[in-house]
Structures are given as structure tokens and as C-alpha cells.
């Protein structure tokens, strides 16, 4: 699409000619009539000149209106083009939303359609085993127990498949809470220790004396532990499985070590991929779907951690994963993350506002003033003015206040200014004494970031 200025070169020339016709020629004519005709005896000359002047003015006028029409036409065309582009974009956005909604509907519909007959069958078999419709004999109990076990197996397969489809649709959501790692391992131990015992394997757990905490989704982490530990048990004929936890530099590391068959170098790269099942399982152990490790890897990585394996054929295997230890920053990221999940599910926007107080901690200032600052910040956090019940205020360090508000891109600047006023008001008494300056940064989901750390980084980047 050419710019208006370049198209109108022709039109400009027309305009130039028109201006000349309207101004220059009549001016020359008048000049001639006024002076040059003095000595001229030809009576036709003035009439001719007047005629030329009139013709010139009319022609000029005609050209000017043509130029104006031309311009109007170009503007109309341009507007129509922009309108068409806008409509196209609108359609694309709607289409994308529709696809996202289809994905969600697919997962929940399939989930429901598969689970309903499973739930009915499971409860039916369970009722029979418990003798509720009437007593049963030993053989019947055996048959029914086998059936129940396989209904559970079907449930596991369906859960795995649904997890994978959620992961691939970017829909696996983590609900964060503060949790002790020992509690998680205990969950896993309770479910799997009997299996180890059945195979005559030892099961050891080593955790540090001081409780290690992470900010994570309890169900999902237990899922990871169950997967890794049950694999370890499955692939070990004799010896045992050891689960150990250690902390190093803000990271929690959990290692699951076994004395089993080990994994060959050829098989290593295939491990964390879909539907890969390696080696023979020894004796008792649930048949897998080949999806467990892939799901485990995704869960660990969604928590901001990493997972890896070391093994040698015939010499056992060590699976390990690391997660950040619970800290306020983790909690903050978790809270922002929860907001992201909510916003995505509900197809809403939300904004992250970051205010940073910049001041010099002057030792001569005295404790009183520092305390006053602390109180002012606390007071600010308790002020719920203009906030909806779904908005939240968080403190980050002792200099940053973060507001998560359900406003979209259009209203964000207004909210930011309003809150800037509230903060400045709140700190007014203290500010003068400690020379505080206030800078703000803003990030809107989903425009400035789709994950919690992206939004935070974006807001930090535009602190001004």
C-alpha cells in the first residue's frame, strides 16, 4: 500500500497547475489590463485578456475540485483497506479462541465420557466385593478382585493419556502450596512400600533433619515420585531402592536410586519420550503406559525444576530431580502463576503492577524513620481501597509492592496512576525524611508475558 504522499504526485501536479491558473494568470492579466494596455490601440486585446483570465479561473477551479475528489477517493480506499485488515484480524482472534475452547472441551468431554462407565463399573464391582447386594464366595471374590484391579489399570491409562493431551495443549496447571518434601515422600512410601516388600526388596528413605519445603502442587509431585519409585521397584530383582533428599544452594534435590538392571547407553536418549517402554520388568509390578516419565518431566519443568538420569547397564539406576526450595520469591511466582492459570481458563486479562521504592538507607537516619517506612508499607498492603476481592497485593523484599489486578490493557494505566497516588500519599510523611523516589513498572497478561516469571521480568524492565 503506497503512502498518500507518493500517490498524489499526479494530483499535486494538478494542484500546482490549478493554483497557477487561478492566481498567476489572472494576476498577469490584471497587470496587463492596468498598465500594458495604456499604449495599445487594439480594442480586442483587453477583452481577450479578460476572457483568458476568466477561462483560467474556471479551469483552475475545476482542477482544484478534481484534486479534492481524488484525495477523498484515496482516503476512502485506504479506510476500506484498514477495515478489511481489522476484520481479518478479528476473525483470526475469534478462530484462535474457538480452537482453544475446543481443546478444553475435548479434554473435559473425553475425560467425562471415559470416566463415567469406568466409575459405574468400578463402583459396581466394589459393591459386589463388599457384599452389599449379598454375600459372595471365595472364587467370586477372586474374580471380582481381578476385575477391579483392571478397572483401576484402565483408569491409570486414561489419566496418563489425558495428562499427556493436557501437556501438549499447554493446559496442565499447577496449583501451588507450601509443602514439606518429607510429607510427599511419605505419601509415596505408603503406597509403594508393600510392593517392594512383596518382591523382597529394601526401601530406604533419607531426608535431612530439618524439614525441606517447596512451593508446589502436592498431587502432581506425588505423581512424579510414584512414577519414579515404582519404576525403580519394577526394574530391580534384588537389593533395593533408596530415596534421598538434599538441599544445595536454594535447590532441593531428590534422588531415587535402585540396584536394578540399569539402562543401556542406546536406550538413554529415548527415555523421556512418549510411549517408550524399555527392558523387561521383573516380577510384580503394574504394567505401564510408557507415558509416566514424559509426564514426570513436564511436571518437574512446570515447577521450574529439572530432571535427569544416570545409569549403567547391569549396575543400577539413579533418577534425580531438583526443585527450588520454598522461599518468598517462589511464593510470589506461584501466586502470579495461579493468577495466570485463572485468567487463561476464564479468558480474561489481568495486570501486574510493580512499584519500587528507591531510597538510601542512611545510618544517621535513625531506626524510628526506618520503622515508619516499614509501617507505611504494611499499611499500604492492608489498604484495600479500589481493589476487588480477586485482586491481591504482595510485598517483594522490603522495597517492592506488587499488585495483581483484574484489569485489562485499556484500564491498566488508569489503575497504575491511581495506585501510585495511594502509595505516594501513604509514604508522604516518611518520604520527605528519607528521600524516597517511586518507580513503577507494568505488565499485562497475556500481552507482556504468558508465564509468571515473564510478567515479572517485563514489569521490571519497564520500571520508570
Amino acid at each position: 500500500m503506497e503512502k498518500l504522499s507518493s500517490i498524489s504526485q499526479d494530483a499535486r501536479r494538478q494542484l500546482g497547475i490549478a493554483v497557477a491558473l487561478i492566481t498567476v494568470i489572472p494576476a498577469l492579466s490584471i497587470f496587463y489590463l492596468a498598465f500594458a494596455s495604456q499604449g495599445n490601440r487594439n480594442p480586442a486585446a483587453p477583452a481577450l485578456v479578460m476572457g483568458i483570465m476568466s477561462a483560467s479561473i474556471v479551469l483552475g477551479y475545476f482542477l482544484v475540485t478534481k484534486y479534492r475528489d481524488n484525495l477523498e477517493e484515496m482516503i476512502e480506499e485506504r479506510t476500506a483497506e484498514l477495515q478489511a485488515i481489522n476484520d481479518q484480524l478479528q476473525l483470526e482472534v475469534e478462530e484462535r479462541r474457538r480452537v482453544e475452547r475446543l481443546k478444553d472441551d475435548f479434554v473435559s468431554t473425553v475425560s467425562h465420557e471415559l470416566r463415567t462407565p469406568l466409575a459405574i463399573t468400578r463402583e459396581g464391582v466394589s459393591l459386589l466385593i463388599d457384599g452389599i447386594p449379598g454375600p459372595i464366595n471365595e472364587k467370586q471374590a477372586k474374580v471380582l478382585t481381578t476385575a477391579k484391579g483392571n478397572v483401576d489399570r484402565l483408569t491409570r491409562i486414561i489419566n496418563d493419556l489425558l495428562d499427556i493431551s493436557k501437556i501438549e495443549a499447554g493446559r496442565m496447571d499447577i496449583k501451588h502450596e507450601r509443602i514439606g518434601v518429607d510429607k510427599l515422600i511419605e505419601h509415596a512410601r505408603v503406597s509403594l512400600a508393600p510392593l517392594a516388600k512383596q518382591k523382597g526388596l529394601r526401601f530406604e528413605v533419607h531426608v535431612p533433619e530439618e524439614s525441606v519445603e517447596v512451593f508446589a502442587d502436592e498431587d502432581r509431585l506425588v505423581q512424579v515420585l510414584n512414577n519414579l519409585i515404582s519404576n525403580a521397584i519394577k526394574f530391580t530383582k534384588e537389593g533395593g531402592v533408596t530415596v534421598s533428599v538434599s538441599v544445595d544452594d536454594g535447590s532441593m534435590r531428590c534422588v531415587i536410586e535402585d540396584t536394578g538392571t540399569g539402562i543401556s547407553e542406546d536406550d538413554m536418549p529415548r527415555l523421556f519420550h512418549k510411549f517408550v517402554q524399555i527392558g523387561r520388568t521383573h516380577g510384580a509390578g503394574r504394567k505401564g503406559t510408557g507415558l509416566g516419565l514424559v509426564i514426570a518431566k513436564n511436571i518437574v519443568e512446570l515447577h521450574g525444576g529439572k530432571i535427569w538420569v544416570e545409569s549403567e547397564l547391569g549396575k543400577g539406576t539413579r533418577f534425580a530431580f531438583e526443585l527450588p526450595v520454598y522461599s518468598e520469591e517462589q511464593v510470589l511466582l506461584g501466586k502470579i502463576g495461579d493468577k495466570v492459570v485463572n485468567a487463561r481458563q476464564m479468558e480474561r486479562e489481568f495486570s501486574l503492577f510493580l512499584w519500587e521504592l528507591r531510597y538510601e538507607t542512611d545510618p544517621t537516619l535513625g531506626e524510628a524513620k526506618q520503622e515508619a517506612l516499614g509501617r507505611a508499607i504494611q499499611h499500604l498492603l492492608q489498604t484495600r481501597a479500589y481493589l476487588r476481592s480477586t485482586d491481591s497485593l504482595e510485598l517483594r523484599g522490603d522495597r517492592q509492592v506488587i499488585l495483581l489486578a483484574e484489569v485489562g490493557r485499556d484500564n491498566a494505566p488508569v489503575v497504575m496512576n491511581r495506585w501510585r497516588q495511594i502509595i505516594e500519599e501513604s509514604l508522604r510523611d516518611v518520604a520527605a525524611a528519607i528521600h524516597i523516589s517511586l518507580v513503577c513498572g507494568m505488565a499485562v497478561y497475556p500481552y507482556d508475558g504468558a508465564e509468571s516469571h515473564e510478567l515479572l521480568e517485563s514489569a521490571e524492565k519497564n520500571l520508570a
Binding site: L127, I132, K175
Partner: protein, 122 residues
Amino acid sequence: MKKVLIVDDEPEFADMISMRLEANGYDVITAGDGAEGLVKAREENPDLILLDVMMPNLDGFEVLKRLRNSPATADTRVVMLTARGETKSIFRGQELGVDDYLIKPCDSDELLAVCQKYCRLR
């Protein structure tokens, strides 16, 4: 005797759960869809409502919203039956005032524990 209302569009599922609950001393009423569920909730005044999320016409959320909007049923305990990890359900349910969730297929122990808890709270 504590009264439980099951609102679920799968009559077989409702039958199984009823059998289990009746064997454990509960009085059970069932409704095959949301509209019937609302009527029975008002008429029977149950101690607990087990409410399926996925139903045609009036889905679980609609039913919950109407229950909460009506003074007669605003405080009735409601437990929603949903599929695992359907976070959207959980958010919406929380916004509308659900008391708890059960995930299908549910363990009979868990079902009984939940019923005991919420029937007692009344």
C-alpha cells in the same frame, strides 16, 4: 437419618452410589437432571447434595448458582462430582460457592468420608 440428594444424568451411576450410601445408613433421593435436582432440593431439604458437573441443559454450575441464589437452598451443602484435574471446574465452583469436590471414579471410602463430613456439619 441423614438425607443425600444425588443429581446426575447417569442413572446407573446414581444407582451404584445410592446402593453404597443406603448400605451405610443414608436416606437417598436422586434427580436425573438439573431442573429436577432444583425441585427436589427445595422439596426434600437434603443434608447434602452430590452434584454432577457435566449435565445437558442445566449443567452443574447453573444448578449451583440457582441453589445459592435461593434462600431456601443457599446454605445446603453441595459436593460436586468432577473429573480429575479439571481446574476450570474448580475455579468456577469456588466462585459459585461449592463446598467440596469428588473425582470420578471415586473411591467408596472417600465418598463415605465426604458424606459423613458434610452431613455432620449441618
